[in-house]
Symmetry: C2
Subunit: 247 residues, 2 copies
Amino acid sequence: MAQSVLLTGAAGRVGTAILADLADEHEWRLMDRDPMTDDHPGEFVVADITDEEAVREAMDGVDVVIHLAGDPRPDAPWDSVLTNNIDGTQTIFEAAVDADVEKVVFASSNHAVGAYETEERTPDLYRAHDDYLLDGTELPRPGNLYGVSKAAGESIGRYYHDEFGLSVACVRIGNLTEGHPPIDYERGQAMWLSYRDCAHLFDRCIRADYEFEIVYGISDNDRKYYSIERAKEALGYEPQDNSARHD
Amino acid sequence: MAQSVLLTGAAGRVGTAILADLADEHEWRLMDRDPMTDDHPGEFVVADITDEEAVREAMDGVDVVIHLAGDPRPDAPWDSVLTNNIDGTQTIFEAAVDADVEKVVFASSNHAVGAYETEERTPDLYRAHDDYLLDGTELPRPGNLYGVSKAAGESIGRYYHDEFGLSVACVRIGNLTEGHPPIDYERGQAMWLSYRDCAHLFDRCIRADYEFEIVYGISDNDRKYYSIERAKEALGYEPQDNSARHD
């Protein structure tokens, strides 16, 4: 069934990958602080995630929120991730509860667990023979302050799920690139997420029934050190791509 | 060996418990936004945790920081915990790294995991026959926005440990009361922390050698559903009190 979906940060890379495949699958309300230059489905709201009133207006009549907005830079300074990522995410969840939204899908990040990539584990961690796997039940180990903000967003989502019954999926997105996996970058190949697998995974987050989930958003890469079992079981994720089998 | 310790939030209840037993054990620099009315050891700095310059000055020459300052209300509003607890804690860690402090002890809270106390588990969870235990390796499940802020503080600590090598202990403090355990309050009896066990636990956090730890700060209560094994193993914690054996 088509859902009414609010997509924040719609003009970014993840939003672009989602809309490339799912434009006709749902009723979209897109939000970004920058106008979109390309054609886009549905309505478009130009607003910043820190504008609480605009966020509340954009929630009206929505079934599902996909929350991508925020400062996407791994080296973003603290003040920016505090305001845009942590405070912005709390604004989204609070408004979603007040608007009786059913599900919020939160774009978390591999950087929330980046510090598991210790000197002792790398580069073996990025290679197919190594069987070390993170599965989403481990505590955060952020690799930067951006990762701290994403771990905080997951905790915010957990609270709004437990307290208000909102369905919440946190997707720790890997390395999203269009067309082909990163070249000469083992870490990127390990956590590659193809555009079509990205769109499919978020489609599953829109359609599936769940309570609270933390899943890894990567393709089915031979080199992976993130388990995709939980995404398969809880959401019905069926990735088609693998960085090792890509031409 | 006596250490030079900066204690933030020194005028609060946890600070009071710590200083009651440890006034003569270390060289204290106390900080609080409110002046202390009682006698106190060492230096006293009146400053707010959000005053970055004052925080940086107070770090000078310090071996260990015990960071208690923040909004302590479980029902504190988001804006307050965002500023005082999340942003304030990042300010502390950043300043501690810049000042070459060795250890930061962060006052986390039982509220970071309060939502594990589901309707299905309570009140059995609070009784001695029930063997459900949280051990500090579980993901946060905050029971309120204050708990969200404490979970975020733990992630901030994890990052500063992994990135800069700072020793970090996060103490999920239970229910601290002076003299005797809470009466007619099963939850409080389960997570009671006596004043002397509190002081002893923070003394162990000052003296022990560790990397990054999350431990529960409670007495050895028959009713406990928080494990104190990690506090014993990693820090040498030896609690003397038990809410079930108190007159």
